[in-house]
């Protein structure tokens, strides 16, 4: 009696192990086909714009009021299916305007020129050269792509929000609820997100792949300059050598790729 019970348990255990390991084995054998890394190769469009490190210079002198920035923000949010929530807690934003002391905390002083103090500043993901969010992500759902863009795989993100804690710029938003009913007009060319994942500005990687400049740059009438930071001939580099620029919290060593002419 006792030995048969033990035998039954043993068999049941082995059976459970077999059933349990099946998906693992399936995945292991299906993945490489021979152990090689299954890196999918996506064919690049001939007109695609590429760079070693995309960067942006924002000429803040060109924006006198928040109204000047509205078209840029609107273009970005419309193209990327960013929902609009009334509830502040659920808010999602990729690019928005804020005041000097919020954009550059620690750099403020009481005697700034009136126009600098009163001006609004565009803030967005800095696509850091050394991004802490990428370091923190436990699934590589957020990563630095071959063009230096910090980008996200919305389908891999588990929604742990470690990246949001890691980002020193508050650039990331979380889908606290299903965003789809809150999108005014869905752009079918860009994926909507599910609830429970993080999202942020992607420097319009999908537009660069088609040879187009980022939506905010296109809408900025030259106030935003976009280009390859590592290419000495690029327009971005030219603007950087001709103007004094600052970056947000550069003392943290993340090397933001968004520069500001103040």
């Amino acid at each position: 009696m006792k030995s048969s019970r033990r035998r039954f348990l043993k068999l049941a255990g082995i059976a459970a192990l077999g059933i349990g390991s099946r998906p693992v084995l399936d995945a292991a054998f299906a993945a490489g086909g021979g152990g090689a890394a299954p890196e999918a190769k996506v064919r690049r469009q001939p007109e695609a714009l590429t760079a070693k490190q995309w960067a942006m210079v924002i000429d803040t002198r060109r924006f006198e009021s928040a109204a000047d920035m509205e078209p840029l923000i609107e273009a970005c949010h419309a193209i990327h299916n960013v929902p609009h929530f009334e509830n502040k807690r659920h808010e999602i934003k990729w690019i928005w305007e804020t005041e000097y002391q919020h954009a550059f905390p620690g750099k403020e002083n009481d005697y700034l020129p009136y126009e600098v103090k009163e001006r609004q500043y565009l803030v967005l993901c800095n696509h850091c050269e050394n991004p802490p969010c990428v370091r923190a992500c436990p699934t590589k759902a957020t990563f630095k792509n071959e063009n230096g863009i910090v980008i996200m795989d919305f389908h891999r993100c588990i929604g742990c929000r470690f990246c949001m804690a890691a980002c020193p710029f508050g650039a990331r938003s979380f889908n606290f609820r299903d965003p789809r009913p809150f999108i005014a007009e869905t752009n079918k060319k860009f994926p909507t997100r599910a609830k429970g994942v993080v999202e942020k500005c992607n420097f319009c990687a999908e537009r660069l792949a088609e040879g187009k400049m980022p939506a905010c740059v296109e809408a900025s009438d030259g106030a935003l300059v976009f280009g390859d930071l590592y290419d000495p001939q690029s327009e971005v580099r030219q603007v950087l050598t001709e103007n004094y620029t600052i970056r947000r919290k550069q003392e943290l060593g993340t090397s933001p790729a968004v520069y500001y002419i103040v």
């Binding site: 934003k93 699934t139 588990i158």
Partner: protein, 385 residues
């Protein structure tokens, strides 16, 4: 030994069903959260971790605190603790299950949880936290069960358990160190960006864990025939005393560095917690209560008269436990996010459903604790007779 779990008095079953009911309510609320999203909580874009992660952090401490009975017994051959090591190990198991559940209920996409294994990412501290927490759970289950079974049969536990016991001691330190590193390495979160965060976590762990263990021992003395022992309780009380003093000392070190250096980024979260910032001060009464409770706990624990009196000792342990709970289970996470990276203050207050899910996870832990302690106490009672 599992049969002990299903043989019990009316009172035992009453407790099981009461806890089970809370677990059920919590699970139902979690289903609501699963369908709506984490928007049912008080979390926001600015305070993106809340009550769940705070409870997780506190309970990692409780789990690590169990080592304070294991270490003296196995490393210093302090025989008295032999009676209660199993209680420390089983408390760690219950606390770890709660930790893992709190991470689980905090995920936006829980069904994708296994991505952490499918795409292992050693540069993420969360990856290491997953390893140390599950590893410590595994160690405590294997060690606890084997040692208790050996005690029941009146034999020595198998020799292969010994290395696991030695391994479990540094492992206990590691779970709270790695958990502190989740926070302590994030640029721009000044409240957490301190080398002393891991020591702070450990000191509060070694206070709150053993304090809870003393309270549990007091209950066991009252309601069962097994006496964990007064000497054992007194030794634990001394551990709690040292640990809570260290915890308050470490906190004062933080206060000194922040305010003597006068660096705004370092001062702001502390000002937010203890005085309110830009007119927001939800946590102010809680934080002062927490600090007072810990100080009062010290006042009751240091003089031998009050430490040796069961009544004042119980009061001291309650003060230490809840003081540490407010400090870590409420203030620690909110202050890390306040002010936010743009120096704006968004306040976080947990919602009703969020509290219900939290309560459900705590009830799950106490359900597991009740069953495990029932088994352990039954074995002890049987061996004694």
């Amino acid at each position: 030994m599992l049969e002990y779990a299903v043989k019990g008095s009316k009172r035992y079953w009453g407790l099981i069903f009461a806890l089970g009911a809370i677990v059920g309510l919590g699970a139902l609320t979690w289903l609501y959260q699963l369908s709506f999203g984490l928007g049912i909580t008080g979390m926001s874009r600015d305070v993106s971790w809340g009550f769940y992660i705070a409870q997780f952090t506190f309970l990692v401490g409780v789990a690590a605190g169990g080592v304070m009975v294991v270490l003296p017994y196995y490393l210093h051959d302090y025989k008295a603790f032999g009676r209660i090591t199993i209680l420390g190990e089983f408390l760690a198991i219950a606390a770890l299950v709660m930790c893992l559940l709190f991470i689980f209920v905090d995920l936006g996409q829980p069904m994708r949880m296994l991505n952490v294994l499918f795409y292992p990412t050693p540069n993420s501290v969360l990856f290491w936290d997953m390893i140390v927490l599950n590893g410590y759970l595994f160690l405590n289950v294997v060690i606890g069960w084997n040692v208790l079974q050996a005690e029941r049969h009146g034999t020595h536990y198998p020799m292969w358990v010994k290395p696991l016991i030695y391994l479990s001691i540094p492992w206990a330190i590691s779970i709270h160190t790695v958990t502190a590193y989740l926070y302590a390495g994030l640029p721009g979160r000044h409240f957490w960006l301190t080398a002393i965060l891991a020591p702070r976590f450990l000191s509060s762990a070694f206070a709150s864990g053993p304090a809870l263990l003393i309270l549990l021992c007091m209950i066991i003395r009252k309601v069962t025939k097994f006496d964990p022992g007064w000497e054992q309780i007194q030794s634990l009380a001394k551990i709690v005393t040292y640990a809570i003093i260290l915890n308050v000392f470490f906190f004062l070190c933080e206060v000194f560095t922040a305010f003597y250096s006068n660096i705004p980024g370092h001062m702001d979260p502390l000002i937010y917690l203890f005085a309110g910032l830009h007119g927001h001060g939800t946590y102010v009464p809680w934080m002062w209560a927490s600090l007072s409770m810990m100080v009062l706990g010290i006042i009751l624990l240091v003089p031998p008269v009050t430490r040796r009196n069961p009544l004042t000792l119980t009061a001291a342990c309650l003060l230490v436990f809840f003081g540490a709970w407010i400090d870590k289970g409420m203030g620690m996470i909110a202050a890390g996010f306040t002010p936010n990276p743009l120096h704006e203050v968004t306040e976080y207050v947990p919602t009703g459903p969020e509290l219900m899910i939290t309560l459900g996870v705590w009830a799950t832990g106490f359900l597991i604790l009740t069953v495990l302690f029932k088994i352990a106490v039954s074995v002890k009672e049987e061996v004694r007779v």
